[in-house]
């Protein structure tokens, strides 16, 4: 797969990830680590898969064969961090969504958000969640919130930002050591760090020496709904052709699909 050219002027890094779907076991460790890291509250008792908040969802899909020959795959879907035609950025009336030039990361600023949810309608990946309820943690659990991420109120949209606060921490560490550039090993999002099977590779896609850039060019890579031209910075990899076909919605829909979103 060809890496798309830089589309935003002045970008110095283009952080992205390669997710090896053949290594994902669907355990959900990344989702829990993500929620804990980003102070995502436990769902309201009435929350379901449409109204709950998850910055990273692992979808289960199958190849549509009858049981027991069905093949199952798990697809972790964080914000795809689109680099071009970024649908959420172009529709936001509040400028609450923008691409951070220094990292290529699409940022969502909840305090600026007015909750119109245009961005959720625009996002083709269902990567955005709306706070339908006041955030509620069981008594005494507020103490265990991550101090690097602020909490959100009811009525705003939130989404994955590749744990931007970790990039900030890496930059601060580099600055304290007298360097302007964060060292690549210091910045890993929580999901990448959490994955027990190392299905995630993370780094600068524009750095040709990085593992992630090499993996992104490797065999069997694809991106979700590539035909939309959104240039996502989340790249998937699988040796199984049916998974690759699924990515562009090429597999016939037959009502047996388990994935909903």
């Amino acid at each position: 797969m060809k890496s798309a050219k830089k589309l935003v002027d002045g970008e110095t890094h283009r952080y992205g990830m390669v997710i090896d779907l053949d290594r994902c076991t669907g355990c959900g460790a990344c989702m829990v680590a993500c929620a804990v890291e980003n102070n995502v509250p436990p769902g309201d008792p009435a929350a379901n898969e449409r109204t709950g908040i998850s910055w990273l969802r692992v979808y289960r899909m199958n190849d549509g064969q009858p049981l027991p020959e069905t093949r199952t795959a798990f697809v972790p879907v964080p914000c795809q961090q689109c680099g071009a035609k970024t649908p959420c950025v172009s529709v936001c009336p509040q400028n609450a969504v923008e691409i951070d030039r220094s990292s290529g990361i699409v940022g969502q600023i909840p305090v600026r958000c007015l909750g119109c949810r245009y961005c959720m309608a625009a996002c083709p990946y269902h990567a955005r969640s709306f706070n339908w309820w006041d955030p509620a943690w069981p008594a005494g659990m507020k103490e265990s919130l991550n101090p690097d991420v602020s909490t959100r109120t009811r009525g705003v949209v939130e989404k994955c930002n590749f744990c931007f606060h970790r990039l900030q921490a890496a930059r601060a560490k580099a600055a304290a050591a007298g360097s302007r550039e964060e060292s690549p090993g210091d910045y890993l999002p929580a999901c990448v760090e959490a994955c027990p099977t190392s299905a995630f590779l993370f780094g600068d896609l524009d750095d040709p020496t990085s593992d992630v850039a090499k993996a992104a060019e490797g065999k069997g890579t694809f991106r979700l709904l590539e035909k939309l031209g959104t240039d996502p910075k989340v790249i998937y990899r699988s040796a199984r052709p049916w998974i690759r076909q699924m990515a562009d919605g090429a597999l016939p829909r037959n009502g047996k699909e388990e994935h909903r979103g």
Binding site: A96, E98, D100, R101, S102, S103, I105, G107, I109, P110, V111, R112, D148, V149, S150, T151, N161, F164, H165, Q168, A169, R171, A172, K173, A174, A175, A176, A177, G178, R180
Partner: protein, 193 residues
């Protein structure tokens, strides 16, 4: 003067007085610091210390803010001076192992990420944002906005925010202006978490 304009002025004047003088007093609650502390004694000729001697960066680049007890105890394990507050510090806090609940003038809201390491590294002196705080002899009362809960230093001491000196005010606009002057990023994520 007609009675109409007299009535108008009679309504206008108290409103202006209340609005400009009374309201700020009402809006901000004054809270005294738990102890008096003289930066001047520490940074002046007697102490000869620099800001970074107490307000340092941690090894991970995280700013440690107001020093904790053990830092103070390095010198003040026993009272050095003769002030009552120093004795109180040793008796009430140090010997009980209880941190002093200092009130931070420049505390930013929860959604702001301000890495000291990045700014100090780019040769922004402490005084650019904190003014002559390091040379004050007493700690002024901490003032908190009763509605927003923010420290008054975020807005700045003058309610008009006119003719303010560079360090007066720590609102987002103040950050943005300095970033623009220095050609730094004005991306939301750069400062918000």
């Amino acid at each position: 003067m007609t009675s109409r304009s007299f009535a108008f002025v009679a309504g206008l004047t108290p409103a202006l007085v209340v609005g400009w003088l009374g309201f700020p007093r009402l809006l901000y609650k004054r809270v005294e610091q738990p102890l008096s502390f003289s930066h001047k004694v520490h940074t002046g000729e007697k102490g000869g210390m620099a800001c970074a001697d107490c307000h340092a960066l941690g090894p991970d680049g995280r700013f440690t803010g107001i020093p904790r007890l053990e830092k103070c105890a390095g010198c003040h394990a026993q009272p050095i001076g003769t002030t009552a507050d120093e004795k109180r510090f040793v008796d009430d806090y140090l010997n009980k192992g209880q941190e002093v609940p200092w009130l931070v003038y420049s505390r930013q809201p929860d959604n702001v990420h301000f890495p000291h390491a990045v700014h100090i590294g780019k040769k922004v002196p402490c005084e650019r944002c904190h003014g002559p705080h390091g040379t004050t002899d007493t700690l002024r009362a901490w003032q908190v906005n009763r509605i927003s809960g923010y420290s008054r230093d975020i807005w700045g001491p003058r309610i008009t925010r006119a003719f303010r000196r560079p360090w007066e005010g720590m609102k987002m606009n103040d950050c943005i202006r300095c970033h623009a002057e220095r050609g730094q990023s004005s991306s939301c994520l750069a400062c918000h978490k």
